[in-house]
């Protein structure tokens, strides 16, 4: 089955390289929403209509220009069990919304998992590109060239006045959502985070927790994304996001330096304690895991912990999610059992 590797391997290929500013920026993501002309949006489409949309969009994969993005494997959501869907959500390869979608939902995933194309989500087509570190421009460049290929084959619902027409009014215009995942422990520790996040929302950006809308910002991970899609061009959106992220990076860096110079001993104590707990704990809930992993990541970034790669931490961030844990140990777990398996997994991963 084509989808097996997407659910069994915790770390997407694209996550293996660091990317720009990778000490603070985990990943950059761009998503664009498109719909086909003269077809009801997925919410109102019949099974047959959804099926037609899927067939029409899938046929575009045959365009030879698609080859530059590597082999794209189509995965039908109907072929996946709940656990596999959960893992794809945890790896950000599909949205929670697509996982819940029953009618002809599908995703085309590239080999390195940096490109995923969702069909029959809230909109007919959602093109998503993921990159490590701060690479929003690169992600946009790739998404827009995939978009061009689709556009050569299918007629989009587009209006001179409103731009790309989307199911939700919050996406109309460019259909573009660009976001950057940041690790900001020093801003949290020095209690500057609220001030900075509220400043961010003054300039048309929003901040969310690690697993998208509605979930908590655990482990000091924050996702910054544009809120406005109408009346700003794509390049304005990307540049605005980029410059705000650069400013946050500067603040985080100086907060880290201050922490190191003013309280090196306490910082060392904090990260080493968290490291110790991860190495020896027998029970670990997801919130604590996220917090301890954040401390250890900071320790590695600051040079307080060596002989540990950020890659292992990236891997653990994905693997300690409920879906992946159950997938890995092949048992369904109660939340309490999950905490035990989580601790076991972390010990195994870090213990060598």
């Amino acid at each position: 089955m084509a989808n097996r590797r997407f659910t069994e391997q915790p770390l997407s290929e694209w996550m293996r390289s660091g990317g720009k500013e990778s000490e603070i920026v985990i990943s950059s993501r761009v998503r664009i929403a498109r719909n086909l002309l003269n077809r009801p949006f997925p919410m109102l489409a019949t099974n047959q209509q959804s099926e037609d949309v899927l067939n029409q969009l899938e046929s575009v994969l045959a365009d030879e220009r698609m080859q530059q993005f590597g082999q794209l494997s189509p995965v039908l959501l109907a072929d996946l069990d709940e656990l596999d869907k959960k893992v794809l959500v945890e790896k950000h390869l599909i949205s929670p919304n697509l996982a819940n979608e029953s009618r002809s939902g599908a995703v085309f995933i590239s080999e390195d998992e940096s490109l995923s194309i969702m069909v029959n989500e809230e909109d007919h087509l959602r093109i998503q590109c993921l990159y490590p570190g701060l690479q929003v421009q690169e992600a946009w460049d790739k998404a827009t060239s995939v978009d061009d290929i689709f556009e050569a084959h299918v007629d989009y619902a587009f209006d001179d006045h409103r731009g790309f027409l989307t199911s939700c009014p919050t996406n109309v215009g460019t259909g573009l959502r660009a976001s950057v995942m940041m690790h900001l422990p020093a801003l949290v520790l020095t209690q500057q985070i609220n001030r900075i996040l509220s400043a961010v929302s003054q300039v048309g950006l929003t901040v969310r927790g690690i697993y998208g809308e509605g979930s908590e910002a655990t482990g000091n991970l924050f996702q910054i994304s544009n809120q406005i899609t109408l009346g700003q061009s794509e390049s304005e959106i990307i540049e605005n996001l980029y410059s705000v992220v650069m400013q946050i990076i500067e603040h985080e860096k100086s907060a880290r330096e201050r922490l190191l110079s003013e309280s090196r001993l306490r910082m060392t104590d904090r990260v080493m304690r968290s490291y110790g707990i991860l190495l020896y704990a027998a029970i670990m809930d997801s919130k604590e895991a996220a917090q301890r992993l954040s401390d250890v990541r900071l320790g590695v970034d600051l040079g307080l912990i060596d002989a540990l790669s950020v890659q292992v931490l990236n891997e653990l961030t994905v693997m300690t999610q409920p879906g992946f844990l159950q997938k890995k140990f092949q048992v369904s777990m109660s939340p309490g059992e999950r905490d035990m398996y989580r601790a076991k997994l972390i010990r195994e991963k870090l213990g060598k």
């Binding site: 919410m43 919304n97 409103r162 199911s167 939700c168 460019t174 929302s201 908590e216 109408l230 009346g231």
Partner: protein, 172 residues
């Protein structure tokens, strides 16, 4: 940032609405959102963002020419979605909804985006007309600039280019 409802838990849902150019922000936590009957995406179905959005749609300002309430029978002829359904679920049923509800959309977009008109990417085929119009605008601006700079040779070339494009548009 703390939840503005309970003031205790961290706010995890953030939303900005813009009324008459003035921004108001919501910051609420999951528990409070749930209490208010808004489900959280990724948990068990439902879209808080759409529920919040429908809250915005409910109070179309009275300044609007057609008055406060959308006519009962306002609906999209293409997919059958009524305006009142749209304002409940906060989602369009098809691209024609934009046409049928058009008169009522400016205030909504103004609140959500602060803008009402797209200025971004234009698809090459479907939007070719608009692309030419935008190109013309750019060329005219540059023509003005060249004339101002007294670069008449470049200006003449630009003028020819503009005439050519104008011919294309009128022959469509």
């Amino acid at each position: 940032m703390h939840c503005q409802e309970c003031g205790k838990r961290p706010a995890t849902l953030h939303f900005t609405k813009i009324v008459n150019g003035e921004k108001t922000e919501f910051h609420i936590c999951e528990a409070c959102a749930r209490e208010k009957g808004e489900l959280i995406p990724g948990t068990s179905g439902g879209f808080s963002i759409h529920s919040l959005l429908s809250g915005l749609l409910d109070f179309t300002p009275g300044s609007h020419a057609q008055g406060n309430k959308a006519p009962e029978n306002l609906r999209c002829e293409e997919c059958g979605l009524t305006y009142s359904q749209f304002s409940k679920i906060g989602r369009f049923g098809c691209s024609s909804c934009y046409k049928y509800f058009n008169n009522r959309l400016d205030p909504l977009f103004k609140r959500v985006h602060g803008n009402t008109v797209h200025v971004g990417k234009v698809p090459k085929r479907v939007g070719s007309h608009l692309q030419i119009k935008r190109k013309l605008d750019d060329l005219r601006k540059e023509l003005q600039y060249r004339i101002h700079q007294e670069e008449f040779e470049e200006a003449a070339a630009l003028r020819d280019q503009i005439r050519e494009l104008e011919k294309n548009i009128s022959s469509e």
